[in-house]
Symmetry: C2
Subunit: 679 residues, 2 copies
């Protein structure tokens, strides 16, 4: 065994013996320890900061003497005087090994650091940046051995950083020569490290050592809004977030109406493509302004969206997505350049679109799968992304199934008589008094219940304007629990229900939720037609989930994840009373927030995640609900509240649903009027 | 040994035994015989036509019976009735092997056919197309197994043509879906087969079987003119050729003045980039109009040009090329897309620029090396591409050296008092009568000598307007042979020379070549300053060649190739009398015509040639004349006519140069006034 000093790195535990005088950075590289450096060990960038530990380390069997590392040298001292160093830190490229030593690599000095996600059940995001900065010294041109500036720059990347086959887009060639000379042949380059389709590419170049960073965008392109996070590609930090309305809304509120617009109007698809791209550019301008950075510093971007938005964004007519068999132009992930689709970020910036899963299960669903990782779940998880279409995953480590189900816009408050988008003034929570059978409500923007003192004053700014999606779910569930609606979905008469809020409304009954007419507002009611709409929407959702359970060969799931902004506001209990989701312990029903947006951010920050999600998507077994005979049967059963056949034992152990029936032979019956909607 | 029938293919000689009933195309593919097919053996494309031979083939040891191939089937018969087939031809995909047979693959049925070049010493061009057509049947979309149309199209290319990892640019995704349906899931695609930097790419798509072809452009981008050949990528045939003036001329006649324009004017380089690209687009529009084809059918292109044009075309400021050390932004070959540089051909069309050899030895010189292949020459060849800069190669199979030498524009008729570009009316041939010492001339556009009857009438349309480059070379050489100019380059007096054409002209003498003043034309003379200009130009050329000979360690070359339009018109004898090229047998001095243009065409038609020339250029040893001390010495010696020190034994064995000297101590002396010009 060698007498060379032993070097132990933490937290990796990697260890090895090195000759006295070996720089710590060199030792780390030889052991494959994740220690960052942009300047390549020249004492400029300070990315390689380390914390030596001293004294006895029983765990590692090492005693570290006070002189285990070299004295501070002039480079290190100058750096500390000028920029400051955290107490106990050294520069890994300057400090050399003199004796046995234990060296901690703090998270900021790791390239592949973890970004902590807020939710307890979510995995942290591992940073594995697509684009890294490299400081290099380029050989000057020599008439005896003529070669291009780019070729010598590539040689430097190869010799100083072991990067091979690095290419440059034309844009870089156009700006490179004066920058090399301004930096006196020392430059910093941002290199996109490449992927399965592309060799590494120089994305940007600066004279001398560049103190800044480069950025990427994670974009969630929805039919209604476009939301983007601007991230520092080195640290993973979100430096700015912003959103705009999707300018395509003027061509149609929902996706089907946009597909129709493209079909009815020559150049209609082109118009919509221009609209969404210009909206995107406006968003990017805003976000770069917010962050105070140049748009040219944005060198990578990841987009998630549903298939119709995907096609319209790319300039592909969505015609085929409007009819069976719902054929995508392409389902694979796409790697493009910003210039290809007229984006206003760096013209060579990479554009990555996640793969689509099927004609109705888009890159946004793939992003949910990336964020929530059903394929890595030990227990059987049902993931539901509720929107106009619900995308549903069911799976665990063994296999993952996916489908989409046409819930329609009822959960977004559309096609509900008093429905509205979630906005201040919208009813979001409802409770019905067991005795009086009268409701009390909470509205967005106010913490008080409507029967609490001060409610009227608090809401005087907005008034009570309607019921949003999560409100209508609670409303219908409460009506069912308190015997105002029966299992088939019929509202009983005031006599049958014992509620003064029920009133005759044509051939059926309606329920008065809140009367704002005194203050010039609406009279907010739930009609039996509203109940029908919710029944159809929730039946579509449930029957999609149930179909996946059939295919998986199970009758229950271990947990349920509700994704999407809407999912974040649904009460698990009410959703289950409604029979919208399968029976499960309430505490096993959780919200994942904007999981599609999180998936986009993961794909942006961890280049390896892109290949991973592509493999995952290929392995996902897709079920097309439209052609599954059992879907229809499940749908009919699921039209009842909660369900005509499913026992819901966990729910029933907690909630006692009244066994009322209001059908007197003349009214509509639950489960009829089923319509299929797409879009 | 199997009893299966023996199949022998000619001209390849490949042979093998195949089961009775094997289609000839299948047998050919299994043996690796070069037999074309677009439809993959479906009897549609007729590209696989073959000629069976019958009777005794002693050479192959085969007797071919009349029933060696199957009877005509209905597919074959229908094709013949509808389209016709050359007598004796069969369709290789329909005719099956029934007995021993000898099958000839005619050149039209070979993918890698040869295109014959006109000159005897030139190699034929082997066709190895970058882009091929493939007819495929694509699986229809299936809701049970959702996948994108592109993915199923890629699967078809893989299964039916063994093409892997074929990608498509966005443009193809945008047009593909309706084409697939129009063709009822049968389409023809043009696939660029890829290269070291790029995976195969779908370039275009047509419904059903596409009867047409795809095209490529070989473009010679000169400082003065832009010339393009439009080629059929399948046959290699040139279908149209055209040229335009380079619109950059308005920014400066020669390259140095354009570099200056870029330095003096902000956005000057950008203006010139726009100008050359718009000229290029106009040329492409014209050429597609001439050929009657859509610009979108042009899917590949190759460009050759000098380094300054290279940079300006790409939008790179040529500033660095205007001063030592003449650093190129990039010297490697470039692979771009037409859209990257605003060309009006297919937006995804591939753009290939040959590598540059050095700061003054551009992609045009690389194209000359590709066309003339000094690296494959058995004997030692000197290749000179004469222009404002001369590019010079010296080499053989062992090694190749290259340099450029600043000849200046004198060989193009510039800076010569009566000089002009080669155009009708320009003097291109000169003979001086040994007795009278008076000249007779020939002008471009007239076959008669000026002393022949009818000359005046023949030239009445153009008149005699000046002397072009090849004319001035003959002029000066004739003056030297007939004792009107001495070795140092001084014109003698009428008395010294015995010529009535000599006249005093200031402090020196001039020589009257042709007096067109009677018909309102110019008085065409050669002044002593003109002689000086030619001396400097030819000395630069010779000393570059001589320097390469030094570096190679030789005193003579086996042959000399003159490239460029100018080279095609130079008389080898006169060039050697002038001392412009090294001593060599006259019949070993040949012209290669526009070798740069030919090189571009080779790179266009043979994709393997691109990798070859890149390797060749890397291996070429570059000599920078500006920093070689011996260049100056060679230049001084070469200023004399033919040379102050070189013996020129072959020339002297044929021509007896008079040992006159006219220097009376007061005139200029040869070899002074040397200026270095670049551009």
């Amino acid at each position: 065994m060698s007498n060379d000093p032993l070097v132990v790195f933490t937290p990796s535990g990697k260890r090895g013996r090195f000759a006295k005088g070996t720089p710590v950075l060199t030792a780390a590289r030889q052991l494959g320890v994740d220690l960052d450096s942009v300047c390549g060990g020249r004492g400029i960038c300070s990315k390689c900061q380390i914390s030596p530990g001293y004294g006895e380390f029983a765990k590692h069997g090492v005693y570290v003497a006070s002189d285990a590392l070299s004295e501070w040298n002039s480079v290190e001292q100058r750096y500390k005087d000028k920029r400051g160093l955290i107490e106990g830190r050294r520069l890994g490229c300057q400090a050399t090994v003199q004796g046995d030593v234990v060296i901690d690599v703090p998270p900021e000095s790791q390239v592949h650091r973890q970004v902590v996600r807020k939710r307890a059940e979510a995995r942290d995001i591992l940073i594995n940046p697509s684009t890294k900065l490299f400081y290099i010294e380029v050989a000057e041109p020599d008439m005896h051995d003529p070669s291009g500036d780019l070729e010598r720059l590539r040689d430097a990347l190869h010799e100083q950083w072991q990067l091979e086959k690095v290419h440059a887009d034309l844009h870089i060639l156009q700006i490179m020569q004066p920058i090399l000379r301004k930096g006196n042949w020392k430059v910093t380059v941002a290199v996109h490290l490449g992927d399965q389709e592309n060799t590494p590419r120089i994305m940007n170049i600066w004279p001398g050592f560049y103190e800044g960073t480069v950025y990427g965008l994670a974009v969630d392109l929805g039919s209604t809004t476009i939301a983007a996070h601007l991230c520092d590609l080195q640290t993973g930090e979100v430096v700015a977030s912003s959103g705009v309305m999707n300018p395509q809304i003027r061509f149609g509120e929902d996706l089907m109406s946009r597909v129709s617009y493209a079909m009815m109007n020559e150049k209609g698809a082109e118009e919509m493509t221009r609209a969404v791209r210009s909206g995107m550019c406006a968003l990017f301008s805003q976000i770069s302004l917010d962050a105070g950075i140049d748009l040219n510093l944005i060198v990578d971007s990841v987009f998630v969206c549903n298939p119709v938005m995907h096609h319209l964004f790319l300039g592909i007519d969505p015609f085929e997505l409007g009819q069976a068999p719902f054929a995508l132009a392409t389902s694979n992930a796409l790697r493009l350049r910003a210039g290809d689709i007229d984006l206003n970020i760096h013209p060579s910036a990479r554009v990555y679109l996640l793969p689509c899963i099927a004609g109705h299960v888009g890159a946004d669903a793939a992003a949910v799968a990336l964020s929530e990782a059903p394929d890595e779940s030990e227990d059987l998880v049902l993931i539901v992304d509720v929107g106009t279409n619900a995308e549903i995953f069911l799976g665990n480590r063994e296999k993952v199934l996916a489908c989409s189900s046409p819930t329609g816009p009822a959960f977004e408050g559309a096609q509900i008589s008093s429905g509205q988008r979630a906005a201040p003034g919208a009813i979001e929570r409802v409770e019905i008094d067991p005795e009086t059978k009268l409701p009390r409500i909470k509205v967005i923007g106010c913490d008080l219940w409507s029967d609490e003192p001060g409610f009227e004053e608090e809401i005087s700014g907005t008034g009570v304007t309607g019921i949003c999606g999560s409100g209508i779910i609670e409303m219908v569930a409460e009506m069912r629990v308190h015997g105002i609606v029966d299992a088939p979905g019929l509202i009983g008469s005031p006599e049958q229900t014992g509620s003064a809020a029920v009133f005759a409304d044509g051939r059926t009954y309606s329920y008065l939720v809140y009367d704002a007419t005194e203050r010039g507002g609406p009279r907010i009611t739930v009609t039996n037609r509203d109940i029908r709409e919710i029944q159809m929407a929730k039946a579509a959702l449930y029957s999609g989930a149930r179909l996946l359970m059939d295919k998986f060969g199970v009758d229950k799931v271990d947990r349920v994840v509700l994704a999407g902004a809407f999912g974040a506001h649904i009460s698990p209990k009410h959703a289950m009373i409604l029979g919208m989701i399968p029976d499960a312990p309430f505490d096993k029903v959780t919200s994942a927030g904007n999981a599609a947006g999180t998936g986009a951010r993961i794909a942006l920050l961890n280049i390896a995640a892109r290949a991973e999600i592509e493999a995952t998507v290929r392995a996902i077994h897709k079920i097309e609900t439209a052609i599954e005979p059992r879907f229809q049967e499940h749908f009919v059963n699921a039209s009842a509240i909660p369900n005509a056949v499913e026992p819901f034992p966990i729910l029933n152990s907690v909630v006692d649903l009244p066994r009322v029936t209001f059908n007197t032979g003349g009214g509509e019956s639950g489960g009829s009027g089923r319509r299929r909607r797409r879009g």
